[in-house]
């Protein structure tokens, strides 16, 4: 045992000085925005049962956690995500609370095995929101608008892209082709790395050459509304069609709010299909070589804790975001929301019967975004 005491484990780091201040400001900006959309902060245990994460994230993801045993031999983990525990709380502790439930958090998560060279951190801070108990497209839009406001408040306007997809598109195609789980995963991987040539080869036994080629081209594209039109001309099964319709109705609202510059439709985003059940999205910011956040709809999650209900949410990597802002030589004082200042001028809850069918979602969000621009708190009423 002659290891020097100065050593620090791989993937761990210090924050101090300017950088620590900047990071704290980014966190406060996020939490203030979330509060502005009526999200309530939750802190979950740092150490929890490993089985929670196995159910909450799926085996492959949970496997990356630091694991150790409790006195009685049961397997524990340093939390690799916050969503699992938030979903468990929703199904148990908050089972009788009025829906929708809006929860937000900023907390470190730990992963023993990083996913790529670029993701070297083994401790990173996740800042995110969960909207539980509403399955309308208005709920999906609400979380997208929160992400987008958060990034704009960090002066990243014009420098970020949120890519949208719906898992129903892939699932519908895989089902129509009658793929077994192994082949399904093979197709998913080919789409995930955008390998159009091998995907075309893979599809050959299942479909006409023209159709295969068109599908392979489709998943390589990322674009705006025209991507959906193209998708309709290539994909005809019902499940995929419904997913395309869902994306289009989201896009219509994004369009009417004048936000199409920061959104993309990316049908090639097929990560974690076993986890998500509808909308999925990824968040990219110029200056970061890796995505800074992701989210989507996970209607299957809370069922494993005894209460099945729809849910949608996202996480942003606070440390990755801080890196980007630091490289742009932004310091805490240049941010729109200075640390510690009372930001919410009004904390009135503007409750409107949103999400009920006669109301046009575009009008709803136009009004909500206006109120947010004046730092007023909004609380959308959502149909279940």
């Amino acid at each position: 045992m002659t290891e020097p005491l100065s050593r620090i484990p791989t993937g761990m780091r210090y924050y101090f000085g300017q950088e620590a201040r900047l990071r704290r400001t980014v966190e406060q900006t996020g939490m203030t925005v979330f509060d502005g959309w009526s999200y309530e902060e939750i802190t979950t245990p740092t150490v929890d049962y490993y089985s929670l994460f196995e159910h909450g994230m799926g085996r492959a993801e949970a496997h990356r956690a630091f694991r150790f045993t409790d006195n009685d031999g049961s397997l524990l983990a340093l939390r690799p995500d916050v969503t699992s525990a938030a979903a468990r709380a929703a199904a148990t502790l908050f089972a009788d609370r009025e829906r929708p439930l809006r929860l937000c958090y900023a907390a470190p998560v730990f992963r023993q095995q990083p996913q790529s060279h670029a993701e070297w951190r083994r401790e990173s801070t996740q800042i995110g929101c969960e909207l539980i108990g509403a399955n309308t497209s208005v709920a999906d839009l609400e979380v997208l608008m929160i992400v987008s406001e958060f990034l704009r408040r960090l002066n990243l306007e014009g420098d970020y892209a949120i890519t949208l997809n719906d898992v129903g598109i892939f699932n519908g195609v895989a089902e129509r082709l009658g793929l077994n789980p192994t082949l399904r995963e093979e197709m998913r991987q080919l789409i995930d790395v955008r390998n159009a040539a091998d995907l075309e080869r893979f599809l050959k036994p299942y479909t006409s050459a023209g159709e295969g080629q068109a599908f392979a081209q489709l998943v390589q594209l990322s674009g705006k509304r025209e991507t959906l039109e193209l998708a309709r001309s290539v994909i005809s099964n019902e499940q995929s069609r419904e997913a395309i319709d869902r994306l289009e109705s989201l896009w219509n609202v994004v369009d009417s709010l004048g936000l199409t510059d920061c959104f993309e439709i990316d049908l090639g985003d097929v990560a974690r299909l076993d986890y998500y059940t509808g909308l999925t999205f990824k968040i990219y910011v110029k200056g970061a070589g890796y995505r800074v956040g992701s989210g989507g709809r996970y209607d299957g999650l809370t069922a494993s804790f005894g209460k099945a209900e729809p849910a949608v949410g996202f996480v942003v990597d606070l440390d990755a975001l801080t890196d980007v802002l630091r490289l742009r030589s932004m310091d805490a004082s240049t941010l729109a929301l200075p640390a510690g200042s009372p930001v919410l001028r009004a904390s009135v809850a503007d409750e409107k019967p949103f999400g009920e069918s006669p109301v046009n979602p575009s009008d709803v969000f136009e009004e909500a975004l206006q109120k947010r621009a004046q730092d007023e708190r909004v609380s959308l009423k959502l149909a279940r």
Partner: protein, 207 residues
């Protein structure tokens, strides 16, 4: 300011990769090519090239320091990277093989000693077949190892097979084929979508 930074693997693939890129409208001047600079711009000023060791291409691209890269599939298989691979370039075609001394029957051995520059590929290959192996990682001249008794077989990249034959080895099994790949950073793919789509389509029409 160039639109895209492209990392090119030095060595085996470099000349073919640069010829292909030049045909696709991203040509480096002969003056820049003959210089020893490791970062040069193409003649249009739209692309910046950096020349790095093959194994470092995925590192630069994953971090987003380079938006794209040209590298052999062998390198990608070995390092298990998280990158987009939109295009297979028909350059640098070769095989990743298991080779042993002529006359040796590997199936008679309870454990294999495998010398290789590709420890990950070798371990995955033999692991899938349930064969116990000791991986001996070398950084070059792998073909020497069986003859000198360091290993029972090797896992290596083979183009013509001449080096194997001249060192008394024969190919036993092909693990995989490898050609050059265009790899792209996931964030760049979204944030520089137009420039990357243009590069992909220009390259595709030259393959």
């Amino acid at each position: 300011m160039p639109e895209l930074t492209i990392a090119v693997a030095k060595g085996r693939l470099q000349d073919e990769a640069l010829a292909l890129l030049a045909a696709a409208g991203a040509g480096v001047s002969s003056q820049d090519l003959s210089s020893r600079r490791l970062a040069v711009e193409d003649e249009s000023g739209r692309y910046r090239f950096i020349f790095v060791k093959p194994g470092d291409v995925p590192v630069y691209v994953e971090h987003g320091i380079a938006d794209c890269g040209v590298v052999g599939r062998d390198v990608l298989l070995e390092s298990g990277t998280d990158l987009l691979q939109p295009l297979t370039l028909e350059i640098g075609r070769c095989r990743i093989v298991v080779a042993a001394r002529t006359g040796v029957n590997l199936n008679e051995l309870g454990m294999l000693r495998v010398a290789t520059k590709y420890p990950h590929i070798a371990a995955t290959h033999f692991g899938a077949r349930g064969r116990p192996v000791e991986i001996i990682e070398l950084s070059g001249s792998v073909e020497l190892a069986p003859g000198l008794g360091l290993a029972d077989c090797i896992v290596d990249l083979v183009q013509s097979g001449r080096t194997l034959r001249e060192n008394g080895l024969k190919e036993i099994e092909v693990i995989d084929e490898s050609t050059g790949r265009l790899v792209v950073n996931r964030a760049s793919y979204q944030l520089k979508a137009k420039a990357i789509a243009a590069l992909i389509s220009n390259l595709r029409s030259e393959i």
